[in-house]
């Protein structure tokens, strides 16, 4: 199966049909839910305090629904209008924005208590035009620097993604560090092709140690 991010840009790939298919697929729902719960765990939020979170690439709100259930308030951004439309239909609670994360955010400093992102970062690794502002390093830098500023100190961003090479991991982690983040990679089930999941756990301020990946 070819990776969707190699087929077309996300706002094209996730058109009306693909958005509904993605959202209604029970296997995708389950995987997405598992990864959202794991991302929340890795966020390490203060217990019993509802947080204000950013869902990066919120899509149709599959993760957002879980944030709602957990009592958090959230805002979500996505570049695919069809996905956001499905989110509206599903009546998720979060505020939704049509936004290209490679263009960066305009949120005031310290806006969010944390950020999560499920299966999105790999989309930033493909240049969509030849314009200099759309090279992957440029887009990743805009993304990381404006995300860093939008997060409060201390806090974390947990970004699950599907890297296709060690070079990609290298590029992403080095640009995140340049933007000011501490932290690093958490790999769950590294020895299983099927269950393996990669989380970039980024820390603003003294976020503590990078957590251990799950084994199994």
């Amino acid at each position: 199966m070819s990776r969707p991010e190699l087929i077309a840009p996300p706002e094209i790939y996730y058109g009306d049909t693909e958005s509904k298919k993605y959202t209604n697929n029970t296997r995708i729902q389950q995987v997405q839910a598992d990864m959202t719960y794991r991302a929340l765990e890795l966020l390490n939020l203060p217990p019993a305090q509802p947080a204000f979170l950013l869902d990066i690439g919120c899509g149709s709100g599959l993760s957002g629904e879980i944030l709602d259930d957990e009592g958090h308030i959230w805002a979500g951004v996505d570049i695919a209008p069809s996905m956001l439309e499905v989110a509206l239909e599903r009546e998720v609670e979060g505020d939704l924005f049509l936004q290209d994360i490679g263009q960066g955010f305009g949120f005031r400093p310290g806006s969010f208590d944390g950020a999560i992102s499920i299966s999105v970062l790999q989309w930033l690794l493909n240049a969509e035009t030849s314009h200099p502002t759309s090279s992957p390093p440029h887009r990743l830098t805009r993304f990381f620097t404006t995300l860093f500023s939008a997060l409060r100190n201390p806090s974390r961003a947990v970004l699950q993604f599907y890297p296709s090479s060690d070079d990609q991991i290298q590029l992403i982690t080095s640009l995140a560090q340049k933007a000011g983040f501490g932290g690093g990679l958490v790999v769950d089930y590294p020895n299983s092709n099927k269950a393996k999941k990669v989380f970039l756990v980024l820390m603003v301020g003294s976020g503590g140690q990078v957590p251990q990946g799950l084994q199994g």
């Binding site: 979060g94 505020d95 949120f107 005031r108």
Partner: protein, 123 residues
């Protein structure tokens, strides 16, 4: 859906637009009111992030004058309830947000602001 909780955090992110770029000016807005569960802990925890003047002005523009012009030092239940309503229950469905500095217009359609920039506006 966009509510004043996010409007109060949102500045313009167009290239070179780094000062006087907040708050985005609301224009031609249509709103809808939807009840949300009142969570005093959340509102209290969110208070330090609020730009008070921007919030009061936006709320008044949307027809809600429950907040005092000056941020009160005493945080009581009435204030938390008023803040809850202003931050989380007023939904801007249609309209636009204009940057006071560079005049970029972010249109809001079907409750969703379009934050996309043109190529020449990307930093």
């Amino acid at each position: 859906m966009v509510r004043l909780i996010t409007h109060n955090l949102l500045a313009c992110h167009a290239k070179g637009c780094t000062s006087n770029n907040f708050p985005l000016q609301l224009k031609d807005v249509q709103i809808a009111l939807r009840e949300a569960d009142f969570n005093p802990d959340f509102v209290r925890g969110f208070m330090p992030k609020i730009e008070w003047n921007a919030l009061v002005n936006a709320a008044r523009q949307l027809g809600d004058s429950s907040l005092p012009a000056e941020q009160p030092e005493m945080i009581d239940d009435d204030l938390l309830k008023a803040l809850h309503h202003v931050l989380l229950e007023i939904h801007i469905e249609e309209g636009q947000m204009t940057c006071p500095n560079c005049n970029h217009v972010y249109p809001i359609s079907n409750g969703i602001p379009n934050m996309l920039l043109a190529e020449h506006e990307i930093a």
